[in-house]
Structures are given as structure tokens and as C-alpha cells.
Symmetry: D2
Subunit: 359 residues, 4 copies
């Protein structure tokens, strides 16, 4: 930073027996989304009593620039305050890599592919980090350093929160079955398109590789999974709720064989999914002050109000009403809403599942 202060990040590494998949978990890449740090705290506490089969790396405060950047009372969380670029859209992806790799190693055994392709990816990141004469943005430097660690794991969890939000999960389409290992009722299935986030940056290369081998007739499964886990609302720390979520994550890790079986099991619940393209943002049709009405997580029938907007400037105007009810003509499941009651025309009011289905 300007005064010469160096920002660092604590990294906790726990060795496993080497018989299970390795795990990487980070939290707080978005400054205001702090609850993941509490979940990492509870994981560290719980893991002391577990048998680890794979190595586990945990990184709280993953973005110390973002998590220390107060903007008034709140934390300016989602993007670099100088450039506006989302901190979770700056990871690296090379869409040529899988093809080039398969050309060079068409017949290699799966273990060598696994380790060698990982080396290729790490070299590619190092190239970006170290050999750029014009330098690198603040956000890319942070992202690439985290990505270096994440790429060394088989299972990657990036802990986020929404603004005011229920729990939900971003899951690669191919890993859909794993979504049910978490105690999270709502899952967004994302395609193999890199849009800059850590989950994509870590699973897309392997998905690409699988497809490139398939194109030459080999059917391989590298068993790599990455999830963005949305833990609830931003600007909140709740250590009790964090314990619940830590256990949910251990349930997933047990199911994948990263920790020895110890009775962690997902709750029975109705789980809803929707495709990323059907995960819709509802923008405010007018400026005003919003009384958010819809309950999170439950199907909201067509015509039922999502919210009502108060417009006191319209009170006593003959042809206008001070309360405007917002509805949709289809059933949706509201997942999260904007963090403040005060909105402009065009502010992101809600994110919601449309065309949802049971998982």
C-alpha cells in the first residue's frame, strides 16, 4: 500500500494421509463477505478431531486489500475501488492449454496427465506473475497467488456470501450429484464457460482436458470439483451458524473421501436447482425505497409481490400511488436481495431462480 504497509494472508496447511483428494478452501475474496472466515475457524477446530486422508489448505482473508477497505461504515467488497473490476473475475484461464497438452501427451497414463497438466497450469500462472514487463493489476496479483494454491488441490471451495441472502451453491454441471452432500437447499449449475471466477478457473481446465481426450477417444475422469459456497448475508459474523456450515462442508469432504468417515451426513431436504442462464437478476423499475416482501428459498407464485416501493413524492398526486407492488408473471424462487432499501432505477433488487427444478 501507499505507506509501504505489506498486506499478507494467513495460510493454514494440514497434512493428510495422502490416500484421499486434497482440498483448498478460501474465504473473503470479496471484502464484505466475511462469514467464510468464521467457517474456516470452525473447520480448523473440527478438523483437529478428524482423520485427514488428503491435505487441506485453508486461506481466510484471501483478499486483504478488499477486506480492509472500509467505505463509510461498510466494507467495499465486490470490486477494486480504483478500477471497478470484480475481485472474483481476475483469475487466469488459458483456453489453448488443454488442446496443446493432449497433442503432446495423447497416450500418457492418467496419473502422469494429472501431475503434468497441473505443472503446465502452474507454469502458465508463473509466467503471468513474473514475466510481464508492464506489470500486473493489484487484483490479478492477488488472484494468481491464490490460484497457484488452489490449482494444487483436487477439491476447491470458495466461500462467499450474498448481500442479504439465503444459502446457495454454484456447482459445475458435471458435478451436480455432489451438490446434495452439502446442507444447502439451492444450487446453480454452471456450464464450462470461464467468466473469471475461482471455481471456473480451477474446474474449467480439467473439464476442457476431459473433453480434449474424449475427442481422441479416451474417456478420463480427473475427479476435480470446485464450488462457490454462498453462506448467507454479507457484513455478518456468526460463529454458531459457522459451525453448522463447517459441518456441512465436512459432510462433503467425507463423501469425497478427503476425511475419514465420521458420521457427517447431509440433512434430508428438498433441493432446488436452476441453470446459470435461468438465475435471473430482477432490476428495479424505478427509484425509491424498498420494503422487501418475498421470503427467500420458497417458490413465489406468479403475481405475488416480490417487494413494494415507497415513493413519498407521489403521495397526494392524483394519478399516482405512493406504494408500487412489484410482481412477476411466473413462479420464481427468490435467493437474495439488495443490501439497502434505497435504490435507483435499475438497481439489482433480487436474484431468483426461474425454470427451477428439484435436484
Amino acid at each position: 500500500m501507499a505507506s509501504g504497509v505489506e498486506l499478507t494472508v494467513p495460510v493454514y496447511r494440514i497434512k493428510g494421509r495422502g490416500t484421499g483428494p486434497s482440498v483448498y478452501i478460501q474465504a473473503n475474496i470479496h471484502g464484505a463477505e466475511v462469514q467464510g472466515n468464521a467457517v474456516i475457524y470452525q473447520l480448523l477446530e473440527l478438523l483437529q478431531k478428524q482423520t485427514l486422508l488428503g491435505d487441506i489448505t485453508l486461506v481466510p482473508y484471501a483478499n486483504p486489500v478488499g477486506c480492509n477497505h472500509k467505505n463509510g461504515e461498510y466494507t467495499l467488497g465486490r470490486f477494486d475501488p480504483i478500477t471497478g473490476v470484480n475481485w472474483n473475475r481476475m483469475y487466469h484461464f488459458n483456453d489453448e492449454l488443454a488442446k496443446q497438452f493432449v497433442e503432446q501427451y495423447p497416450d500418457t497414463d492418467v496419473d502422469t496427465i494429472r501431475s503434468e497438466f497441473r505443472r503446465w497450469m502452474l507454469d502458465d500462472i508463473d509466467e503471468q506473475l513474473d514475466h510481464n514487463i508492464f506489470g500486473l493489476t493489484t487484483g490479478r496479483r492477488i488472484a494468481y497467488q491464490l490460484q497457484r494454491m488452489a490449482l494444487q488441490a483436487d477439491l476447491v471451495l470458495d466461500l462467499h456470501t450474498g448481500p442479504i441472502s439465503s444459502k446457495h451453491l454454484y456447482c459445475p454441471e458435471y458435478a451436480k450429484n455432489s451438490a446434495s452432500y452439502f446442507n444447502i437447499p439451492h444450487t446453480i449449475l454452471i456450464p464450462n464457460d470461464f467468466a473469471g471466477a475461482l471455481d471456473e478457473a480451477t474446474f474449467c481446465p480439467w473439464w476442457d482436458l476431459t473433453q480434449a481426450y474424449q475427442a481422441i477417444g479416451r474417456k478420463l475422469d480427473f475427479n476435480k470439483e470446485s464450488f462457490t459456497v454462498e453462506l448467507g448475508s454479507q457484513e455478518l459474523i456468526d460463529l454458531d451458524e459457522a459451525l453448522v456450515d463447517a459441518k456441512s462442508i465436512l459432510g462433503y469432504l467425507q463423501a469425497k473421501g478427503a476425511i475419514a468417515a465420521n458420521g457427517f451426513a447431509p440433512d434430508a431436504m428438498v433441493r432446488y436447482g436452476c441453470m446459470l442462464k435461468d438465475y435471473k437478476v430482477f432490476y428495479s423499475p424505478m427509484g425509491g425505497m424498498v420494503d422487501y416482501l418475498a421470503e427467500f428459498g420458497e417458490p413465489l407464485p406468479a403475481g405475488q409481490p416480490l417487494a413494494r416501493i415507497l415513493r413519498m413524492d407521489n403521495y397526494s398526486e392524483a394519478d399516482s400511488d405512493p406504494l408500487h407492488y412489484l410482481t412477476l408473471d411466473q413462479t420464481v424462487i427468490p435467493i437474495l436481495h439488495f443490501a439497502s432499501a434505497s435504490v435507483n432505477q435499475g438497481t439489482e433488487l433480487y436474484k431468483l431462480f426461474s425454470n427451477y427444478f428439484e435436484l
Copy 2:
């Protein structure tokens, strides 16, 4: 504003029968404290069915600069973003006025004093607004225009909220009995010292005047009251809760004879008070991420934790603990806490009653 946009404020005036005290109610002088607008909406709805004995003026969106100033997702509420000055510390007060007035009108009858002293105050404000060759700050111009309206009323309510907060009331010491007309369990009693806020700006001159007449042996009561009503948390609109608060305000107005009796009565409840000097801010002893534990409104025994602070950088350090519990060695009543979990050393964590008593 810079592009030439003119910001205006809706003002609702309802005529009464002229037999009761007049009333001025404003909301949202702090940008993020929006719930007062919803209370004014519900008041306007309820007042249609009441008999008004005094005139009532209601001003939502009292500070359109503040309430439209988004700072990221949130509303930058408490102060002028350019100067840092609190929007509710820019009202005008002339501490010579009462003395000068009594010198000029030692023997006048009370009704003339009432109207003439008001005229003096309005002239004094106009002098500030219009005859300043070097101009006026944005905030003073807003404040003085509101104050002109407020000074014309007998009863003044300034609707605010805390960050994350329970309901509470700021009340002049001399009007302590009126605090019980509201459905609000916690009252801060403020002395006759002008510190810039609207309640002070409207009651201090009359209190001064009372004392100045007392000094020459006349005991007068002008029956002026001003309250800052803290409705709960900022950044929220809840029209149902606003209806509850609007009825509480009507209870006060009925008790003071501003509306005809119509069955509004305060609930029975334990009401706590504390003097302004005992309304303490508790500052964070360290930076970190806060899990707020104490319940609002209830006495918290000495030694019980207010909050615990998570410091993941301390995890695995031999001589340090990742969880720091914050306690006090006296019983207090927590009233509100900071809006975010992320704090620096020295951030205002809690405001709390110390040395409290039952009202």
C-alpha cells in the same frame, strides 16, 4: 447539483382546528435512516381518520442530498461526503437571543412572547440564509430551511434510526414525563446544551427563554417539546413496523392534545432512562471481525460478553487466541451496535446505557 439538477423535498401540511399545539415531523436527515419515511406514510394514512386539533407538517426525505447519495450498495448517510460534517449538526442556535429578548420584553404577556420570540428566531435564521456574502455550506442551507419550518411548531419529532439498533428516544430533561407517551422502552435525557441537532435547535431557545424569565422572577411554560425518535436499524423499510410506530406517535400527539382523543394509549412496559453523559460509546479495542452477542434493550450483567472478535491471523499463534471476548465490569443496557462485522481498532462497536434507571 453539478449537472444543474434541483433537489426538492415534499412537504405535507394538514390544517387542524387551531385548538391544539402544532406539530412538525421530519424524516431522513441522515441518508441511510429511511424508515421514518415509512412512518410518515403511515401517519398520513392514519391522520385521514383523526380529528386534528393543531396543524401538522410532515417532511419525508428531509435531506435529498444525503438520501440519494449511494456509496457502493449502501447510502452514505451520516455526514456531508465532502466535508465530513454530520448532517444533523448544522442547525442554527444563537445563545444571546433569549437574554436580548427578555431585556426588550420583560413584562409582555405569554402569547405575545410566544409569537414574537418565534419571529425573532425566524428572522435570525433568515439572516443566516440570505445575508451571507461568502455563502453557506450545502448542509447549513438544508438545515436552516428545515429549521424555519420546525420553529413554527410546538411539538417537533425528528425521525432517525441507529445502525443496527433497538428503538430509543432522545428527550429534553424537562420533558421527561412525555417520554412515556411513546411505545419506546429506552430514553436518553439530554440537557440544555446545543450541540447542533434539530431537537436541540428547537427546544434549547425556549428552555433558555424560560430560564431568562425565571432570572427576572417570571415562571413561564411555553409547552414546547422536541424529540429525536430512533426507530430501529438503518437501510431498512418495513411498512408494517412503520404502522406500529405511527400509532405510537399518535399516542404522544393525543396525550399532548394535538389530535382529538381516539383511544391511542401507550403500552405498559418497563421504561429505562439514562442521562446523555451516561450514554456511552464502546470502542473496539482491536481490529477484527465481530460476532455481536449482547441482546439489545436488556440489562447485560457485568462480565457478560458484549461481543467476540475473530482474529484468524492469531490462530495457531502460541501466545494468542483467535477469539477475543469483550466485557465490561459494570451492568449496561446495549442499545445499538455498528453496522458491519469488520472493524478497525477504535471503531464505535456499541452504544449503551450506563447508570440507567427506570423512568
Copy 3:
């Protein structure tokens, strides 16, 4: 906005004789880049004495949300403060449109193509503006409304500024010859790739159309040009300099036949160009406080310092120096630098021409 204030934009339309190309000029889509408003003022003054051959539309304050959004003393200019999205990356582009059009109108005459393709584009925008059940972001609504006006013109100028900057021009590769009509010594040539900006949003469709007709053997020239004109530094109004730039723009309009010849002629000067891919950002290799040294607009030989960074925390450290000189090992032309001396590691320090050439 939240209080119900409606933000509007002044639009000045001047009819021409209908014999020359029509013109659209806007300013201040980025909030802090205000000088374009002064240029529009001077253009309106100068145009009163010119003979207009085509219609001219001028739009100052194009983004009233951005230009009224103060963030402390400065104007938060480049992006939506809620989402972080650059205000000049939200225009609409449909990359299927040209192909579809040529399929439907392979043989139509050029004037019909011109008017009909414009109608297609406007319908496409209207579709976005009016038929989206989930609504539209604040920025897209603003952008699409401006784009509707811009698409009706033949020549489009979008007036911007850099942070601390010399004058420069973004110009489509095919319109390279027109760059010399402006009194601007530095030109960045941009390819036919839509990246969200107004210039691209208005020229790329026509370039696409030209290529789509070429693919079926017709060689058409629609004579559409769009430029982003960078007028100097942000946060400044200089009406005298604006007059200089207004005359430079009239020079271009005269050269294109939009106004009758009246002696406006570009100055003789060395004009440098570089391709967009060679217009490099130089990121700060460390946090610190920057003394910017390089002169704008002149080739800086390899090894000469761009800047020196002060790091007082390094003073008196044996192995470190408090002054760090930043150099490159190639000759570049510095065009602009960051607005503040205080930078983090990774802050955009300079933008500069590499591999430049004389135009």
C-alpha cells in the same frame, strides 16, 4: 433516484441543410470527465456562425447519475458505484444483425440499406429497453437511450478525458485518415471488436455490414465514423481550452462536409499512432508515493525514468532505497498517468504508446 428525483439530460438539436452527414456529440458519460461539457458550450457558440449541412445533436451531462456522484471531494466517474461496471461499457451490440440483414437484403440499393439497417438497430435497442420482464441496469438504461440518438447520426464523437492526461484520440482502423483532421497529436487505432464503448457500438455494426456485403461481392462504404476524443485531464473545466478543442472539432466536421467550409484547418504537427493492442498500461511494481517524471506526448527513450516512487519506510534500511526509479527497456510515448500520487502495488500508473508510428 431513491427520493424520487428524476435525472434528465439536456439535448441540443440544430437542423442543417440536409446535404451533409449528420453529427452526434456527447460528453461526460464518465462523471469526472467534465471538460467535454465546456467543449459543447463552445461548439454551440461557434455553430451559431456556421452553415450546417447536416443536423447536429449535442448532449452534455450524458450520464447524470455519474456526473452528480461525488465521492468525497472528487467525482466518482468511471463506473457504476454499486456494480463497478464502467459506464462506457454498457452499450448494446448484436453481432448477428449484419449477417441477418445481408441475407434479407442482398441486392438492395445503398440508401435503403443505410436507412433500413439503422431501423433494424433502433428496433433492436428498443427491444432491449422495453421488453425485458426482469428489467435493465441503471447503466444500460442510460447507455441505450444515448445510443438511440447516436445511431441516428453518421458521425459520432464521444468526449472524454484521461485522469492526468494529454489529448488523444481513439479512431477505428478504417478511418485512420480522418484522425489528421483533429488538432490531436496521438491516435489509438481500434479494431472491429466490440468491447462495450459508444464509438464501437456505433461503428462496429456498419463495419460488420460492409464486410458482410463484401462477402457476397458488394463493396459498399457507408461513410460512418466514430471517435472517442480524450480532451486532457479529468476534474477540470477550462473554457478557453474548450474553445481550442471546439475549433479542432469544427475542422473535422468541415473536412467531412457536415458544416460549410469556413477556414477551419488542422495545425501542422507530428501525429503519432499506435494499435490498440500496443497501447499499454504500466502497473506499479510496488505501493508508495509517486513523483511522475515523464513528459506526455514525447518519445521517452529506453532506460529513462517514467517516475520515481518514494518509500519513506525504506529510509535508513541498509539494503533498501527510499527512491525507486521506474524504467522500461523500450522507447514509449507516455499519454496519461494516474490521478493521485498514492498508489498500491498494481495500480495503473501510466498508459503509453509502444510500437508507435507516425500517422
Copy 4:
């Protein structure tokens, strides 16, 4: 900070021979006012070749919270972003201390008074720092720690800058003669009223003490001086100009006997002064975009324009003009102006000397 990062400040202490007054110089208490750091750099370089008669302490980056707090491209400088309180209004002052001291030590010799009163002040600060069960704000903790160091010196210089500004000096009325030792043409004379700033916090107690002894018939001079030195504009580092200012400061230190004579002499120049009450802020009478016209530092005759405000929304309105010229009906000397061209009604446009005189 929230992630546990500890912010520290480099402190440079150079021992002198002990025959001259000791010196304390700090820079950058306001985040954007960075040039003082460069001056401290140049002082450290120059002091290596000087003979120090008194000890010198130099503190760059005095406020690491403020100087690392970016708000968009710029540094949020003047106040705590959470509370709005000016970082330079949080020093401590106990207006009872001098009286109490003189009561206890009416007849003590001057050297003992000097050392003992200093001890009282330090104890008073320590009491604030360490014995407050409710804690301390971020800003007060920073301020008190700096004040502890400053109180140990005889001469205190607090290095600041204006927004866009010429060089000027705040000087206690009694130290008026010392103003001419600096190469700074404009001086504001401040009375013995504590308003929170470091200069006042360090000279007011001694001034009080002098007056308290005078009241009992002793005429003492403690030879303590404090200045706020305004170096020019914020957001700028200029090491060459810093060398000029460092030499000017050495001129003052030589004149006061803190360094051995070495030929540093103030330039001959007309020096203007004005009383603090006559140092006026000129607030913008309207929102708009400002072309600042008045030259800094030179008397501006009555009726000459300070600035003109562009209001494009008024262009083509019959009864309005797009350019509004701002004038005063008295001669003033403009010292600084606002940092941005975009202003609201009521924004601080200029600070200027009225009723000025030659020093």
C-alpha cells in the same frame, strides 16, 4: 485493521548537541496531503550535512489509516471515513491544566516549570490513552500517540497541503515574527483557542501557562512555537519542490537555533497576513461546473471574477445564462480552491484572505 494487519509509522530521530531547541516535524495526518513526506525525505538528506543543536524527530505517514485509504482513484484524506471527524481535530487539550499547575508551582524556576509541565501534559495524555474503560476512537488513538512525541519538542511543524493550493502558513499570533523565517508568502494568525489541531494542541497549553503566570505577576517565555505548514496541493509528490521547502524549513530552524548557522536565509518577498477570523471560505451559490479563474496569492480587486460556473442546462433558456461569474465586492487574496470542477450548491469553492495586511 479488520484482517489483523497492524499499521505502523516510521519515526526518525536525530540527536543534536543539546544546546538548541528540539524539533518535531510530522507529515500526512490527512491522507491525501502527501507532499510533506517528500519534504521529510529532503530534510533527512540535508540534515546529514548540518550540525544539529537540538534533537529532531521526523514522522512521515503520520496517519497510516488515512494515507492508505483510497476512495476510487483518490485518497480519502481529511476525515475518518466511518465517523466523518477530521483527523486533525482529535488532539487532546485540558483547559484546566495551566491553572492547576500554577497553583501548585507558583514560584518554581523556569526550567523546572518547563520539564514538569511537560510531564503533566504527558501524564494527561497517557491517562486518555490507557485508562478509558470504554476505549478510544481510531483517530484519537493515532492523534494522542503523535501528540506524545510532539509535546516533547520545543518547535513543532505539522506539514499539510490544501486541495489545489498555494503555499501558506498557520502561525500563533504571538509567534508572528517567526513567520518571516519561512519562504512562504501568506500567513494566517491563529488565536489561543483550541480547536483540535496539532499546532494548537502543542502551543495553546504553553500560551495558557504564560498567561496563568502573568496573572500572578510572573512574565515567562517558554519559547515554544508550532506551525501548520501548507505546502501546496494535495495528491502530488514533487521531490524537486520538496527540496525547496526543506531548505525553507532549515531557514526557520537555523533562525531558532535548532541547527548551526549554515547560510539558510529566507528570500525577500512581500508577506501577507490575515487573522484566522478573516480567513474566509467562499461557498458556491449554485451547483455546476467551475472554471476557476483567480490567481492564487495575489490581491484580487473587488468585482473581478473568482470563477465562472458553467450550467449547460441553462443554455437556450430565455431568462438564464449558461455562464455565471462569481465576484466579491471587496479585495481578497485567493489562497486555495476546491479540488474538483464539479460542485453542489454550498461546496467550499475558495479560501481567501480578507482584511489582509503586510507582515
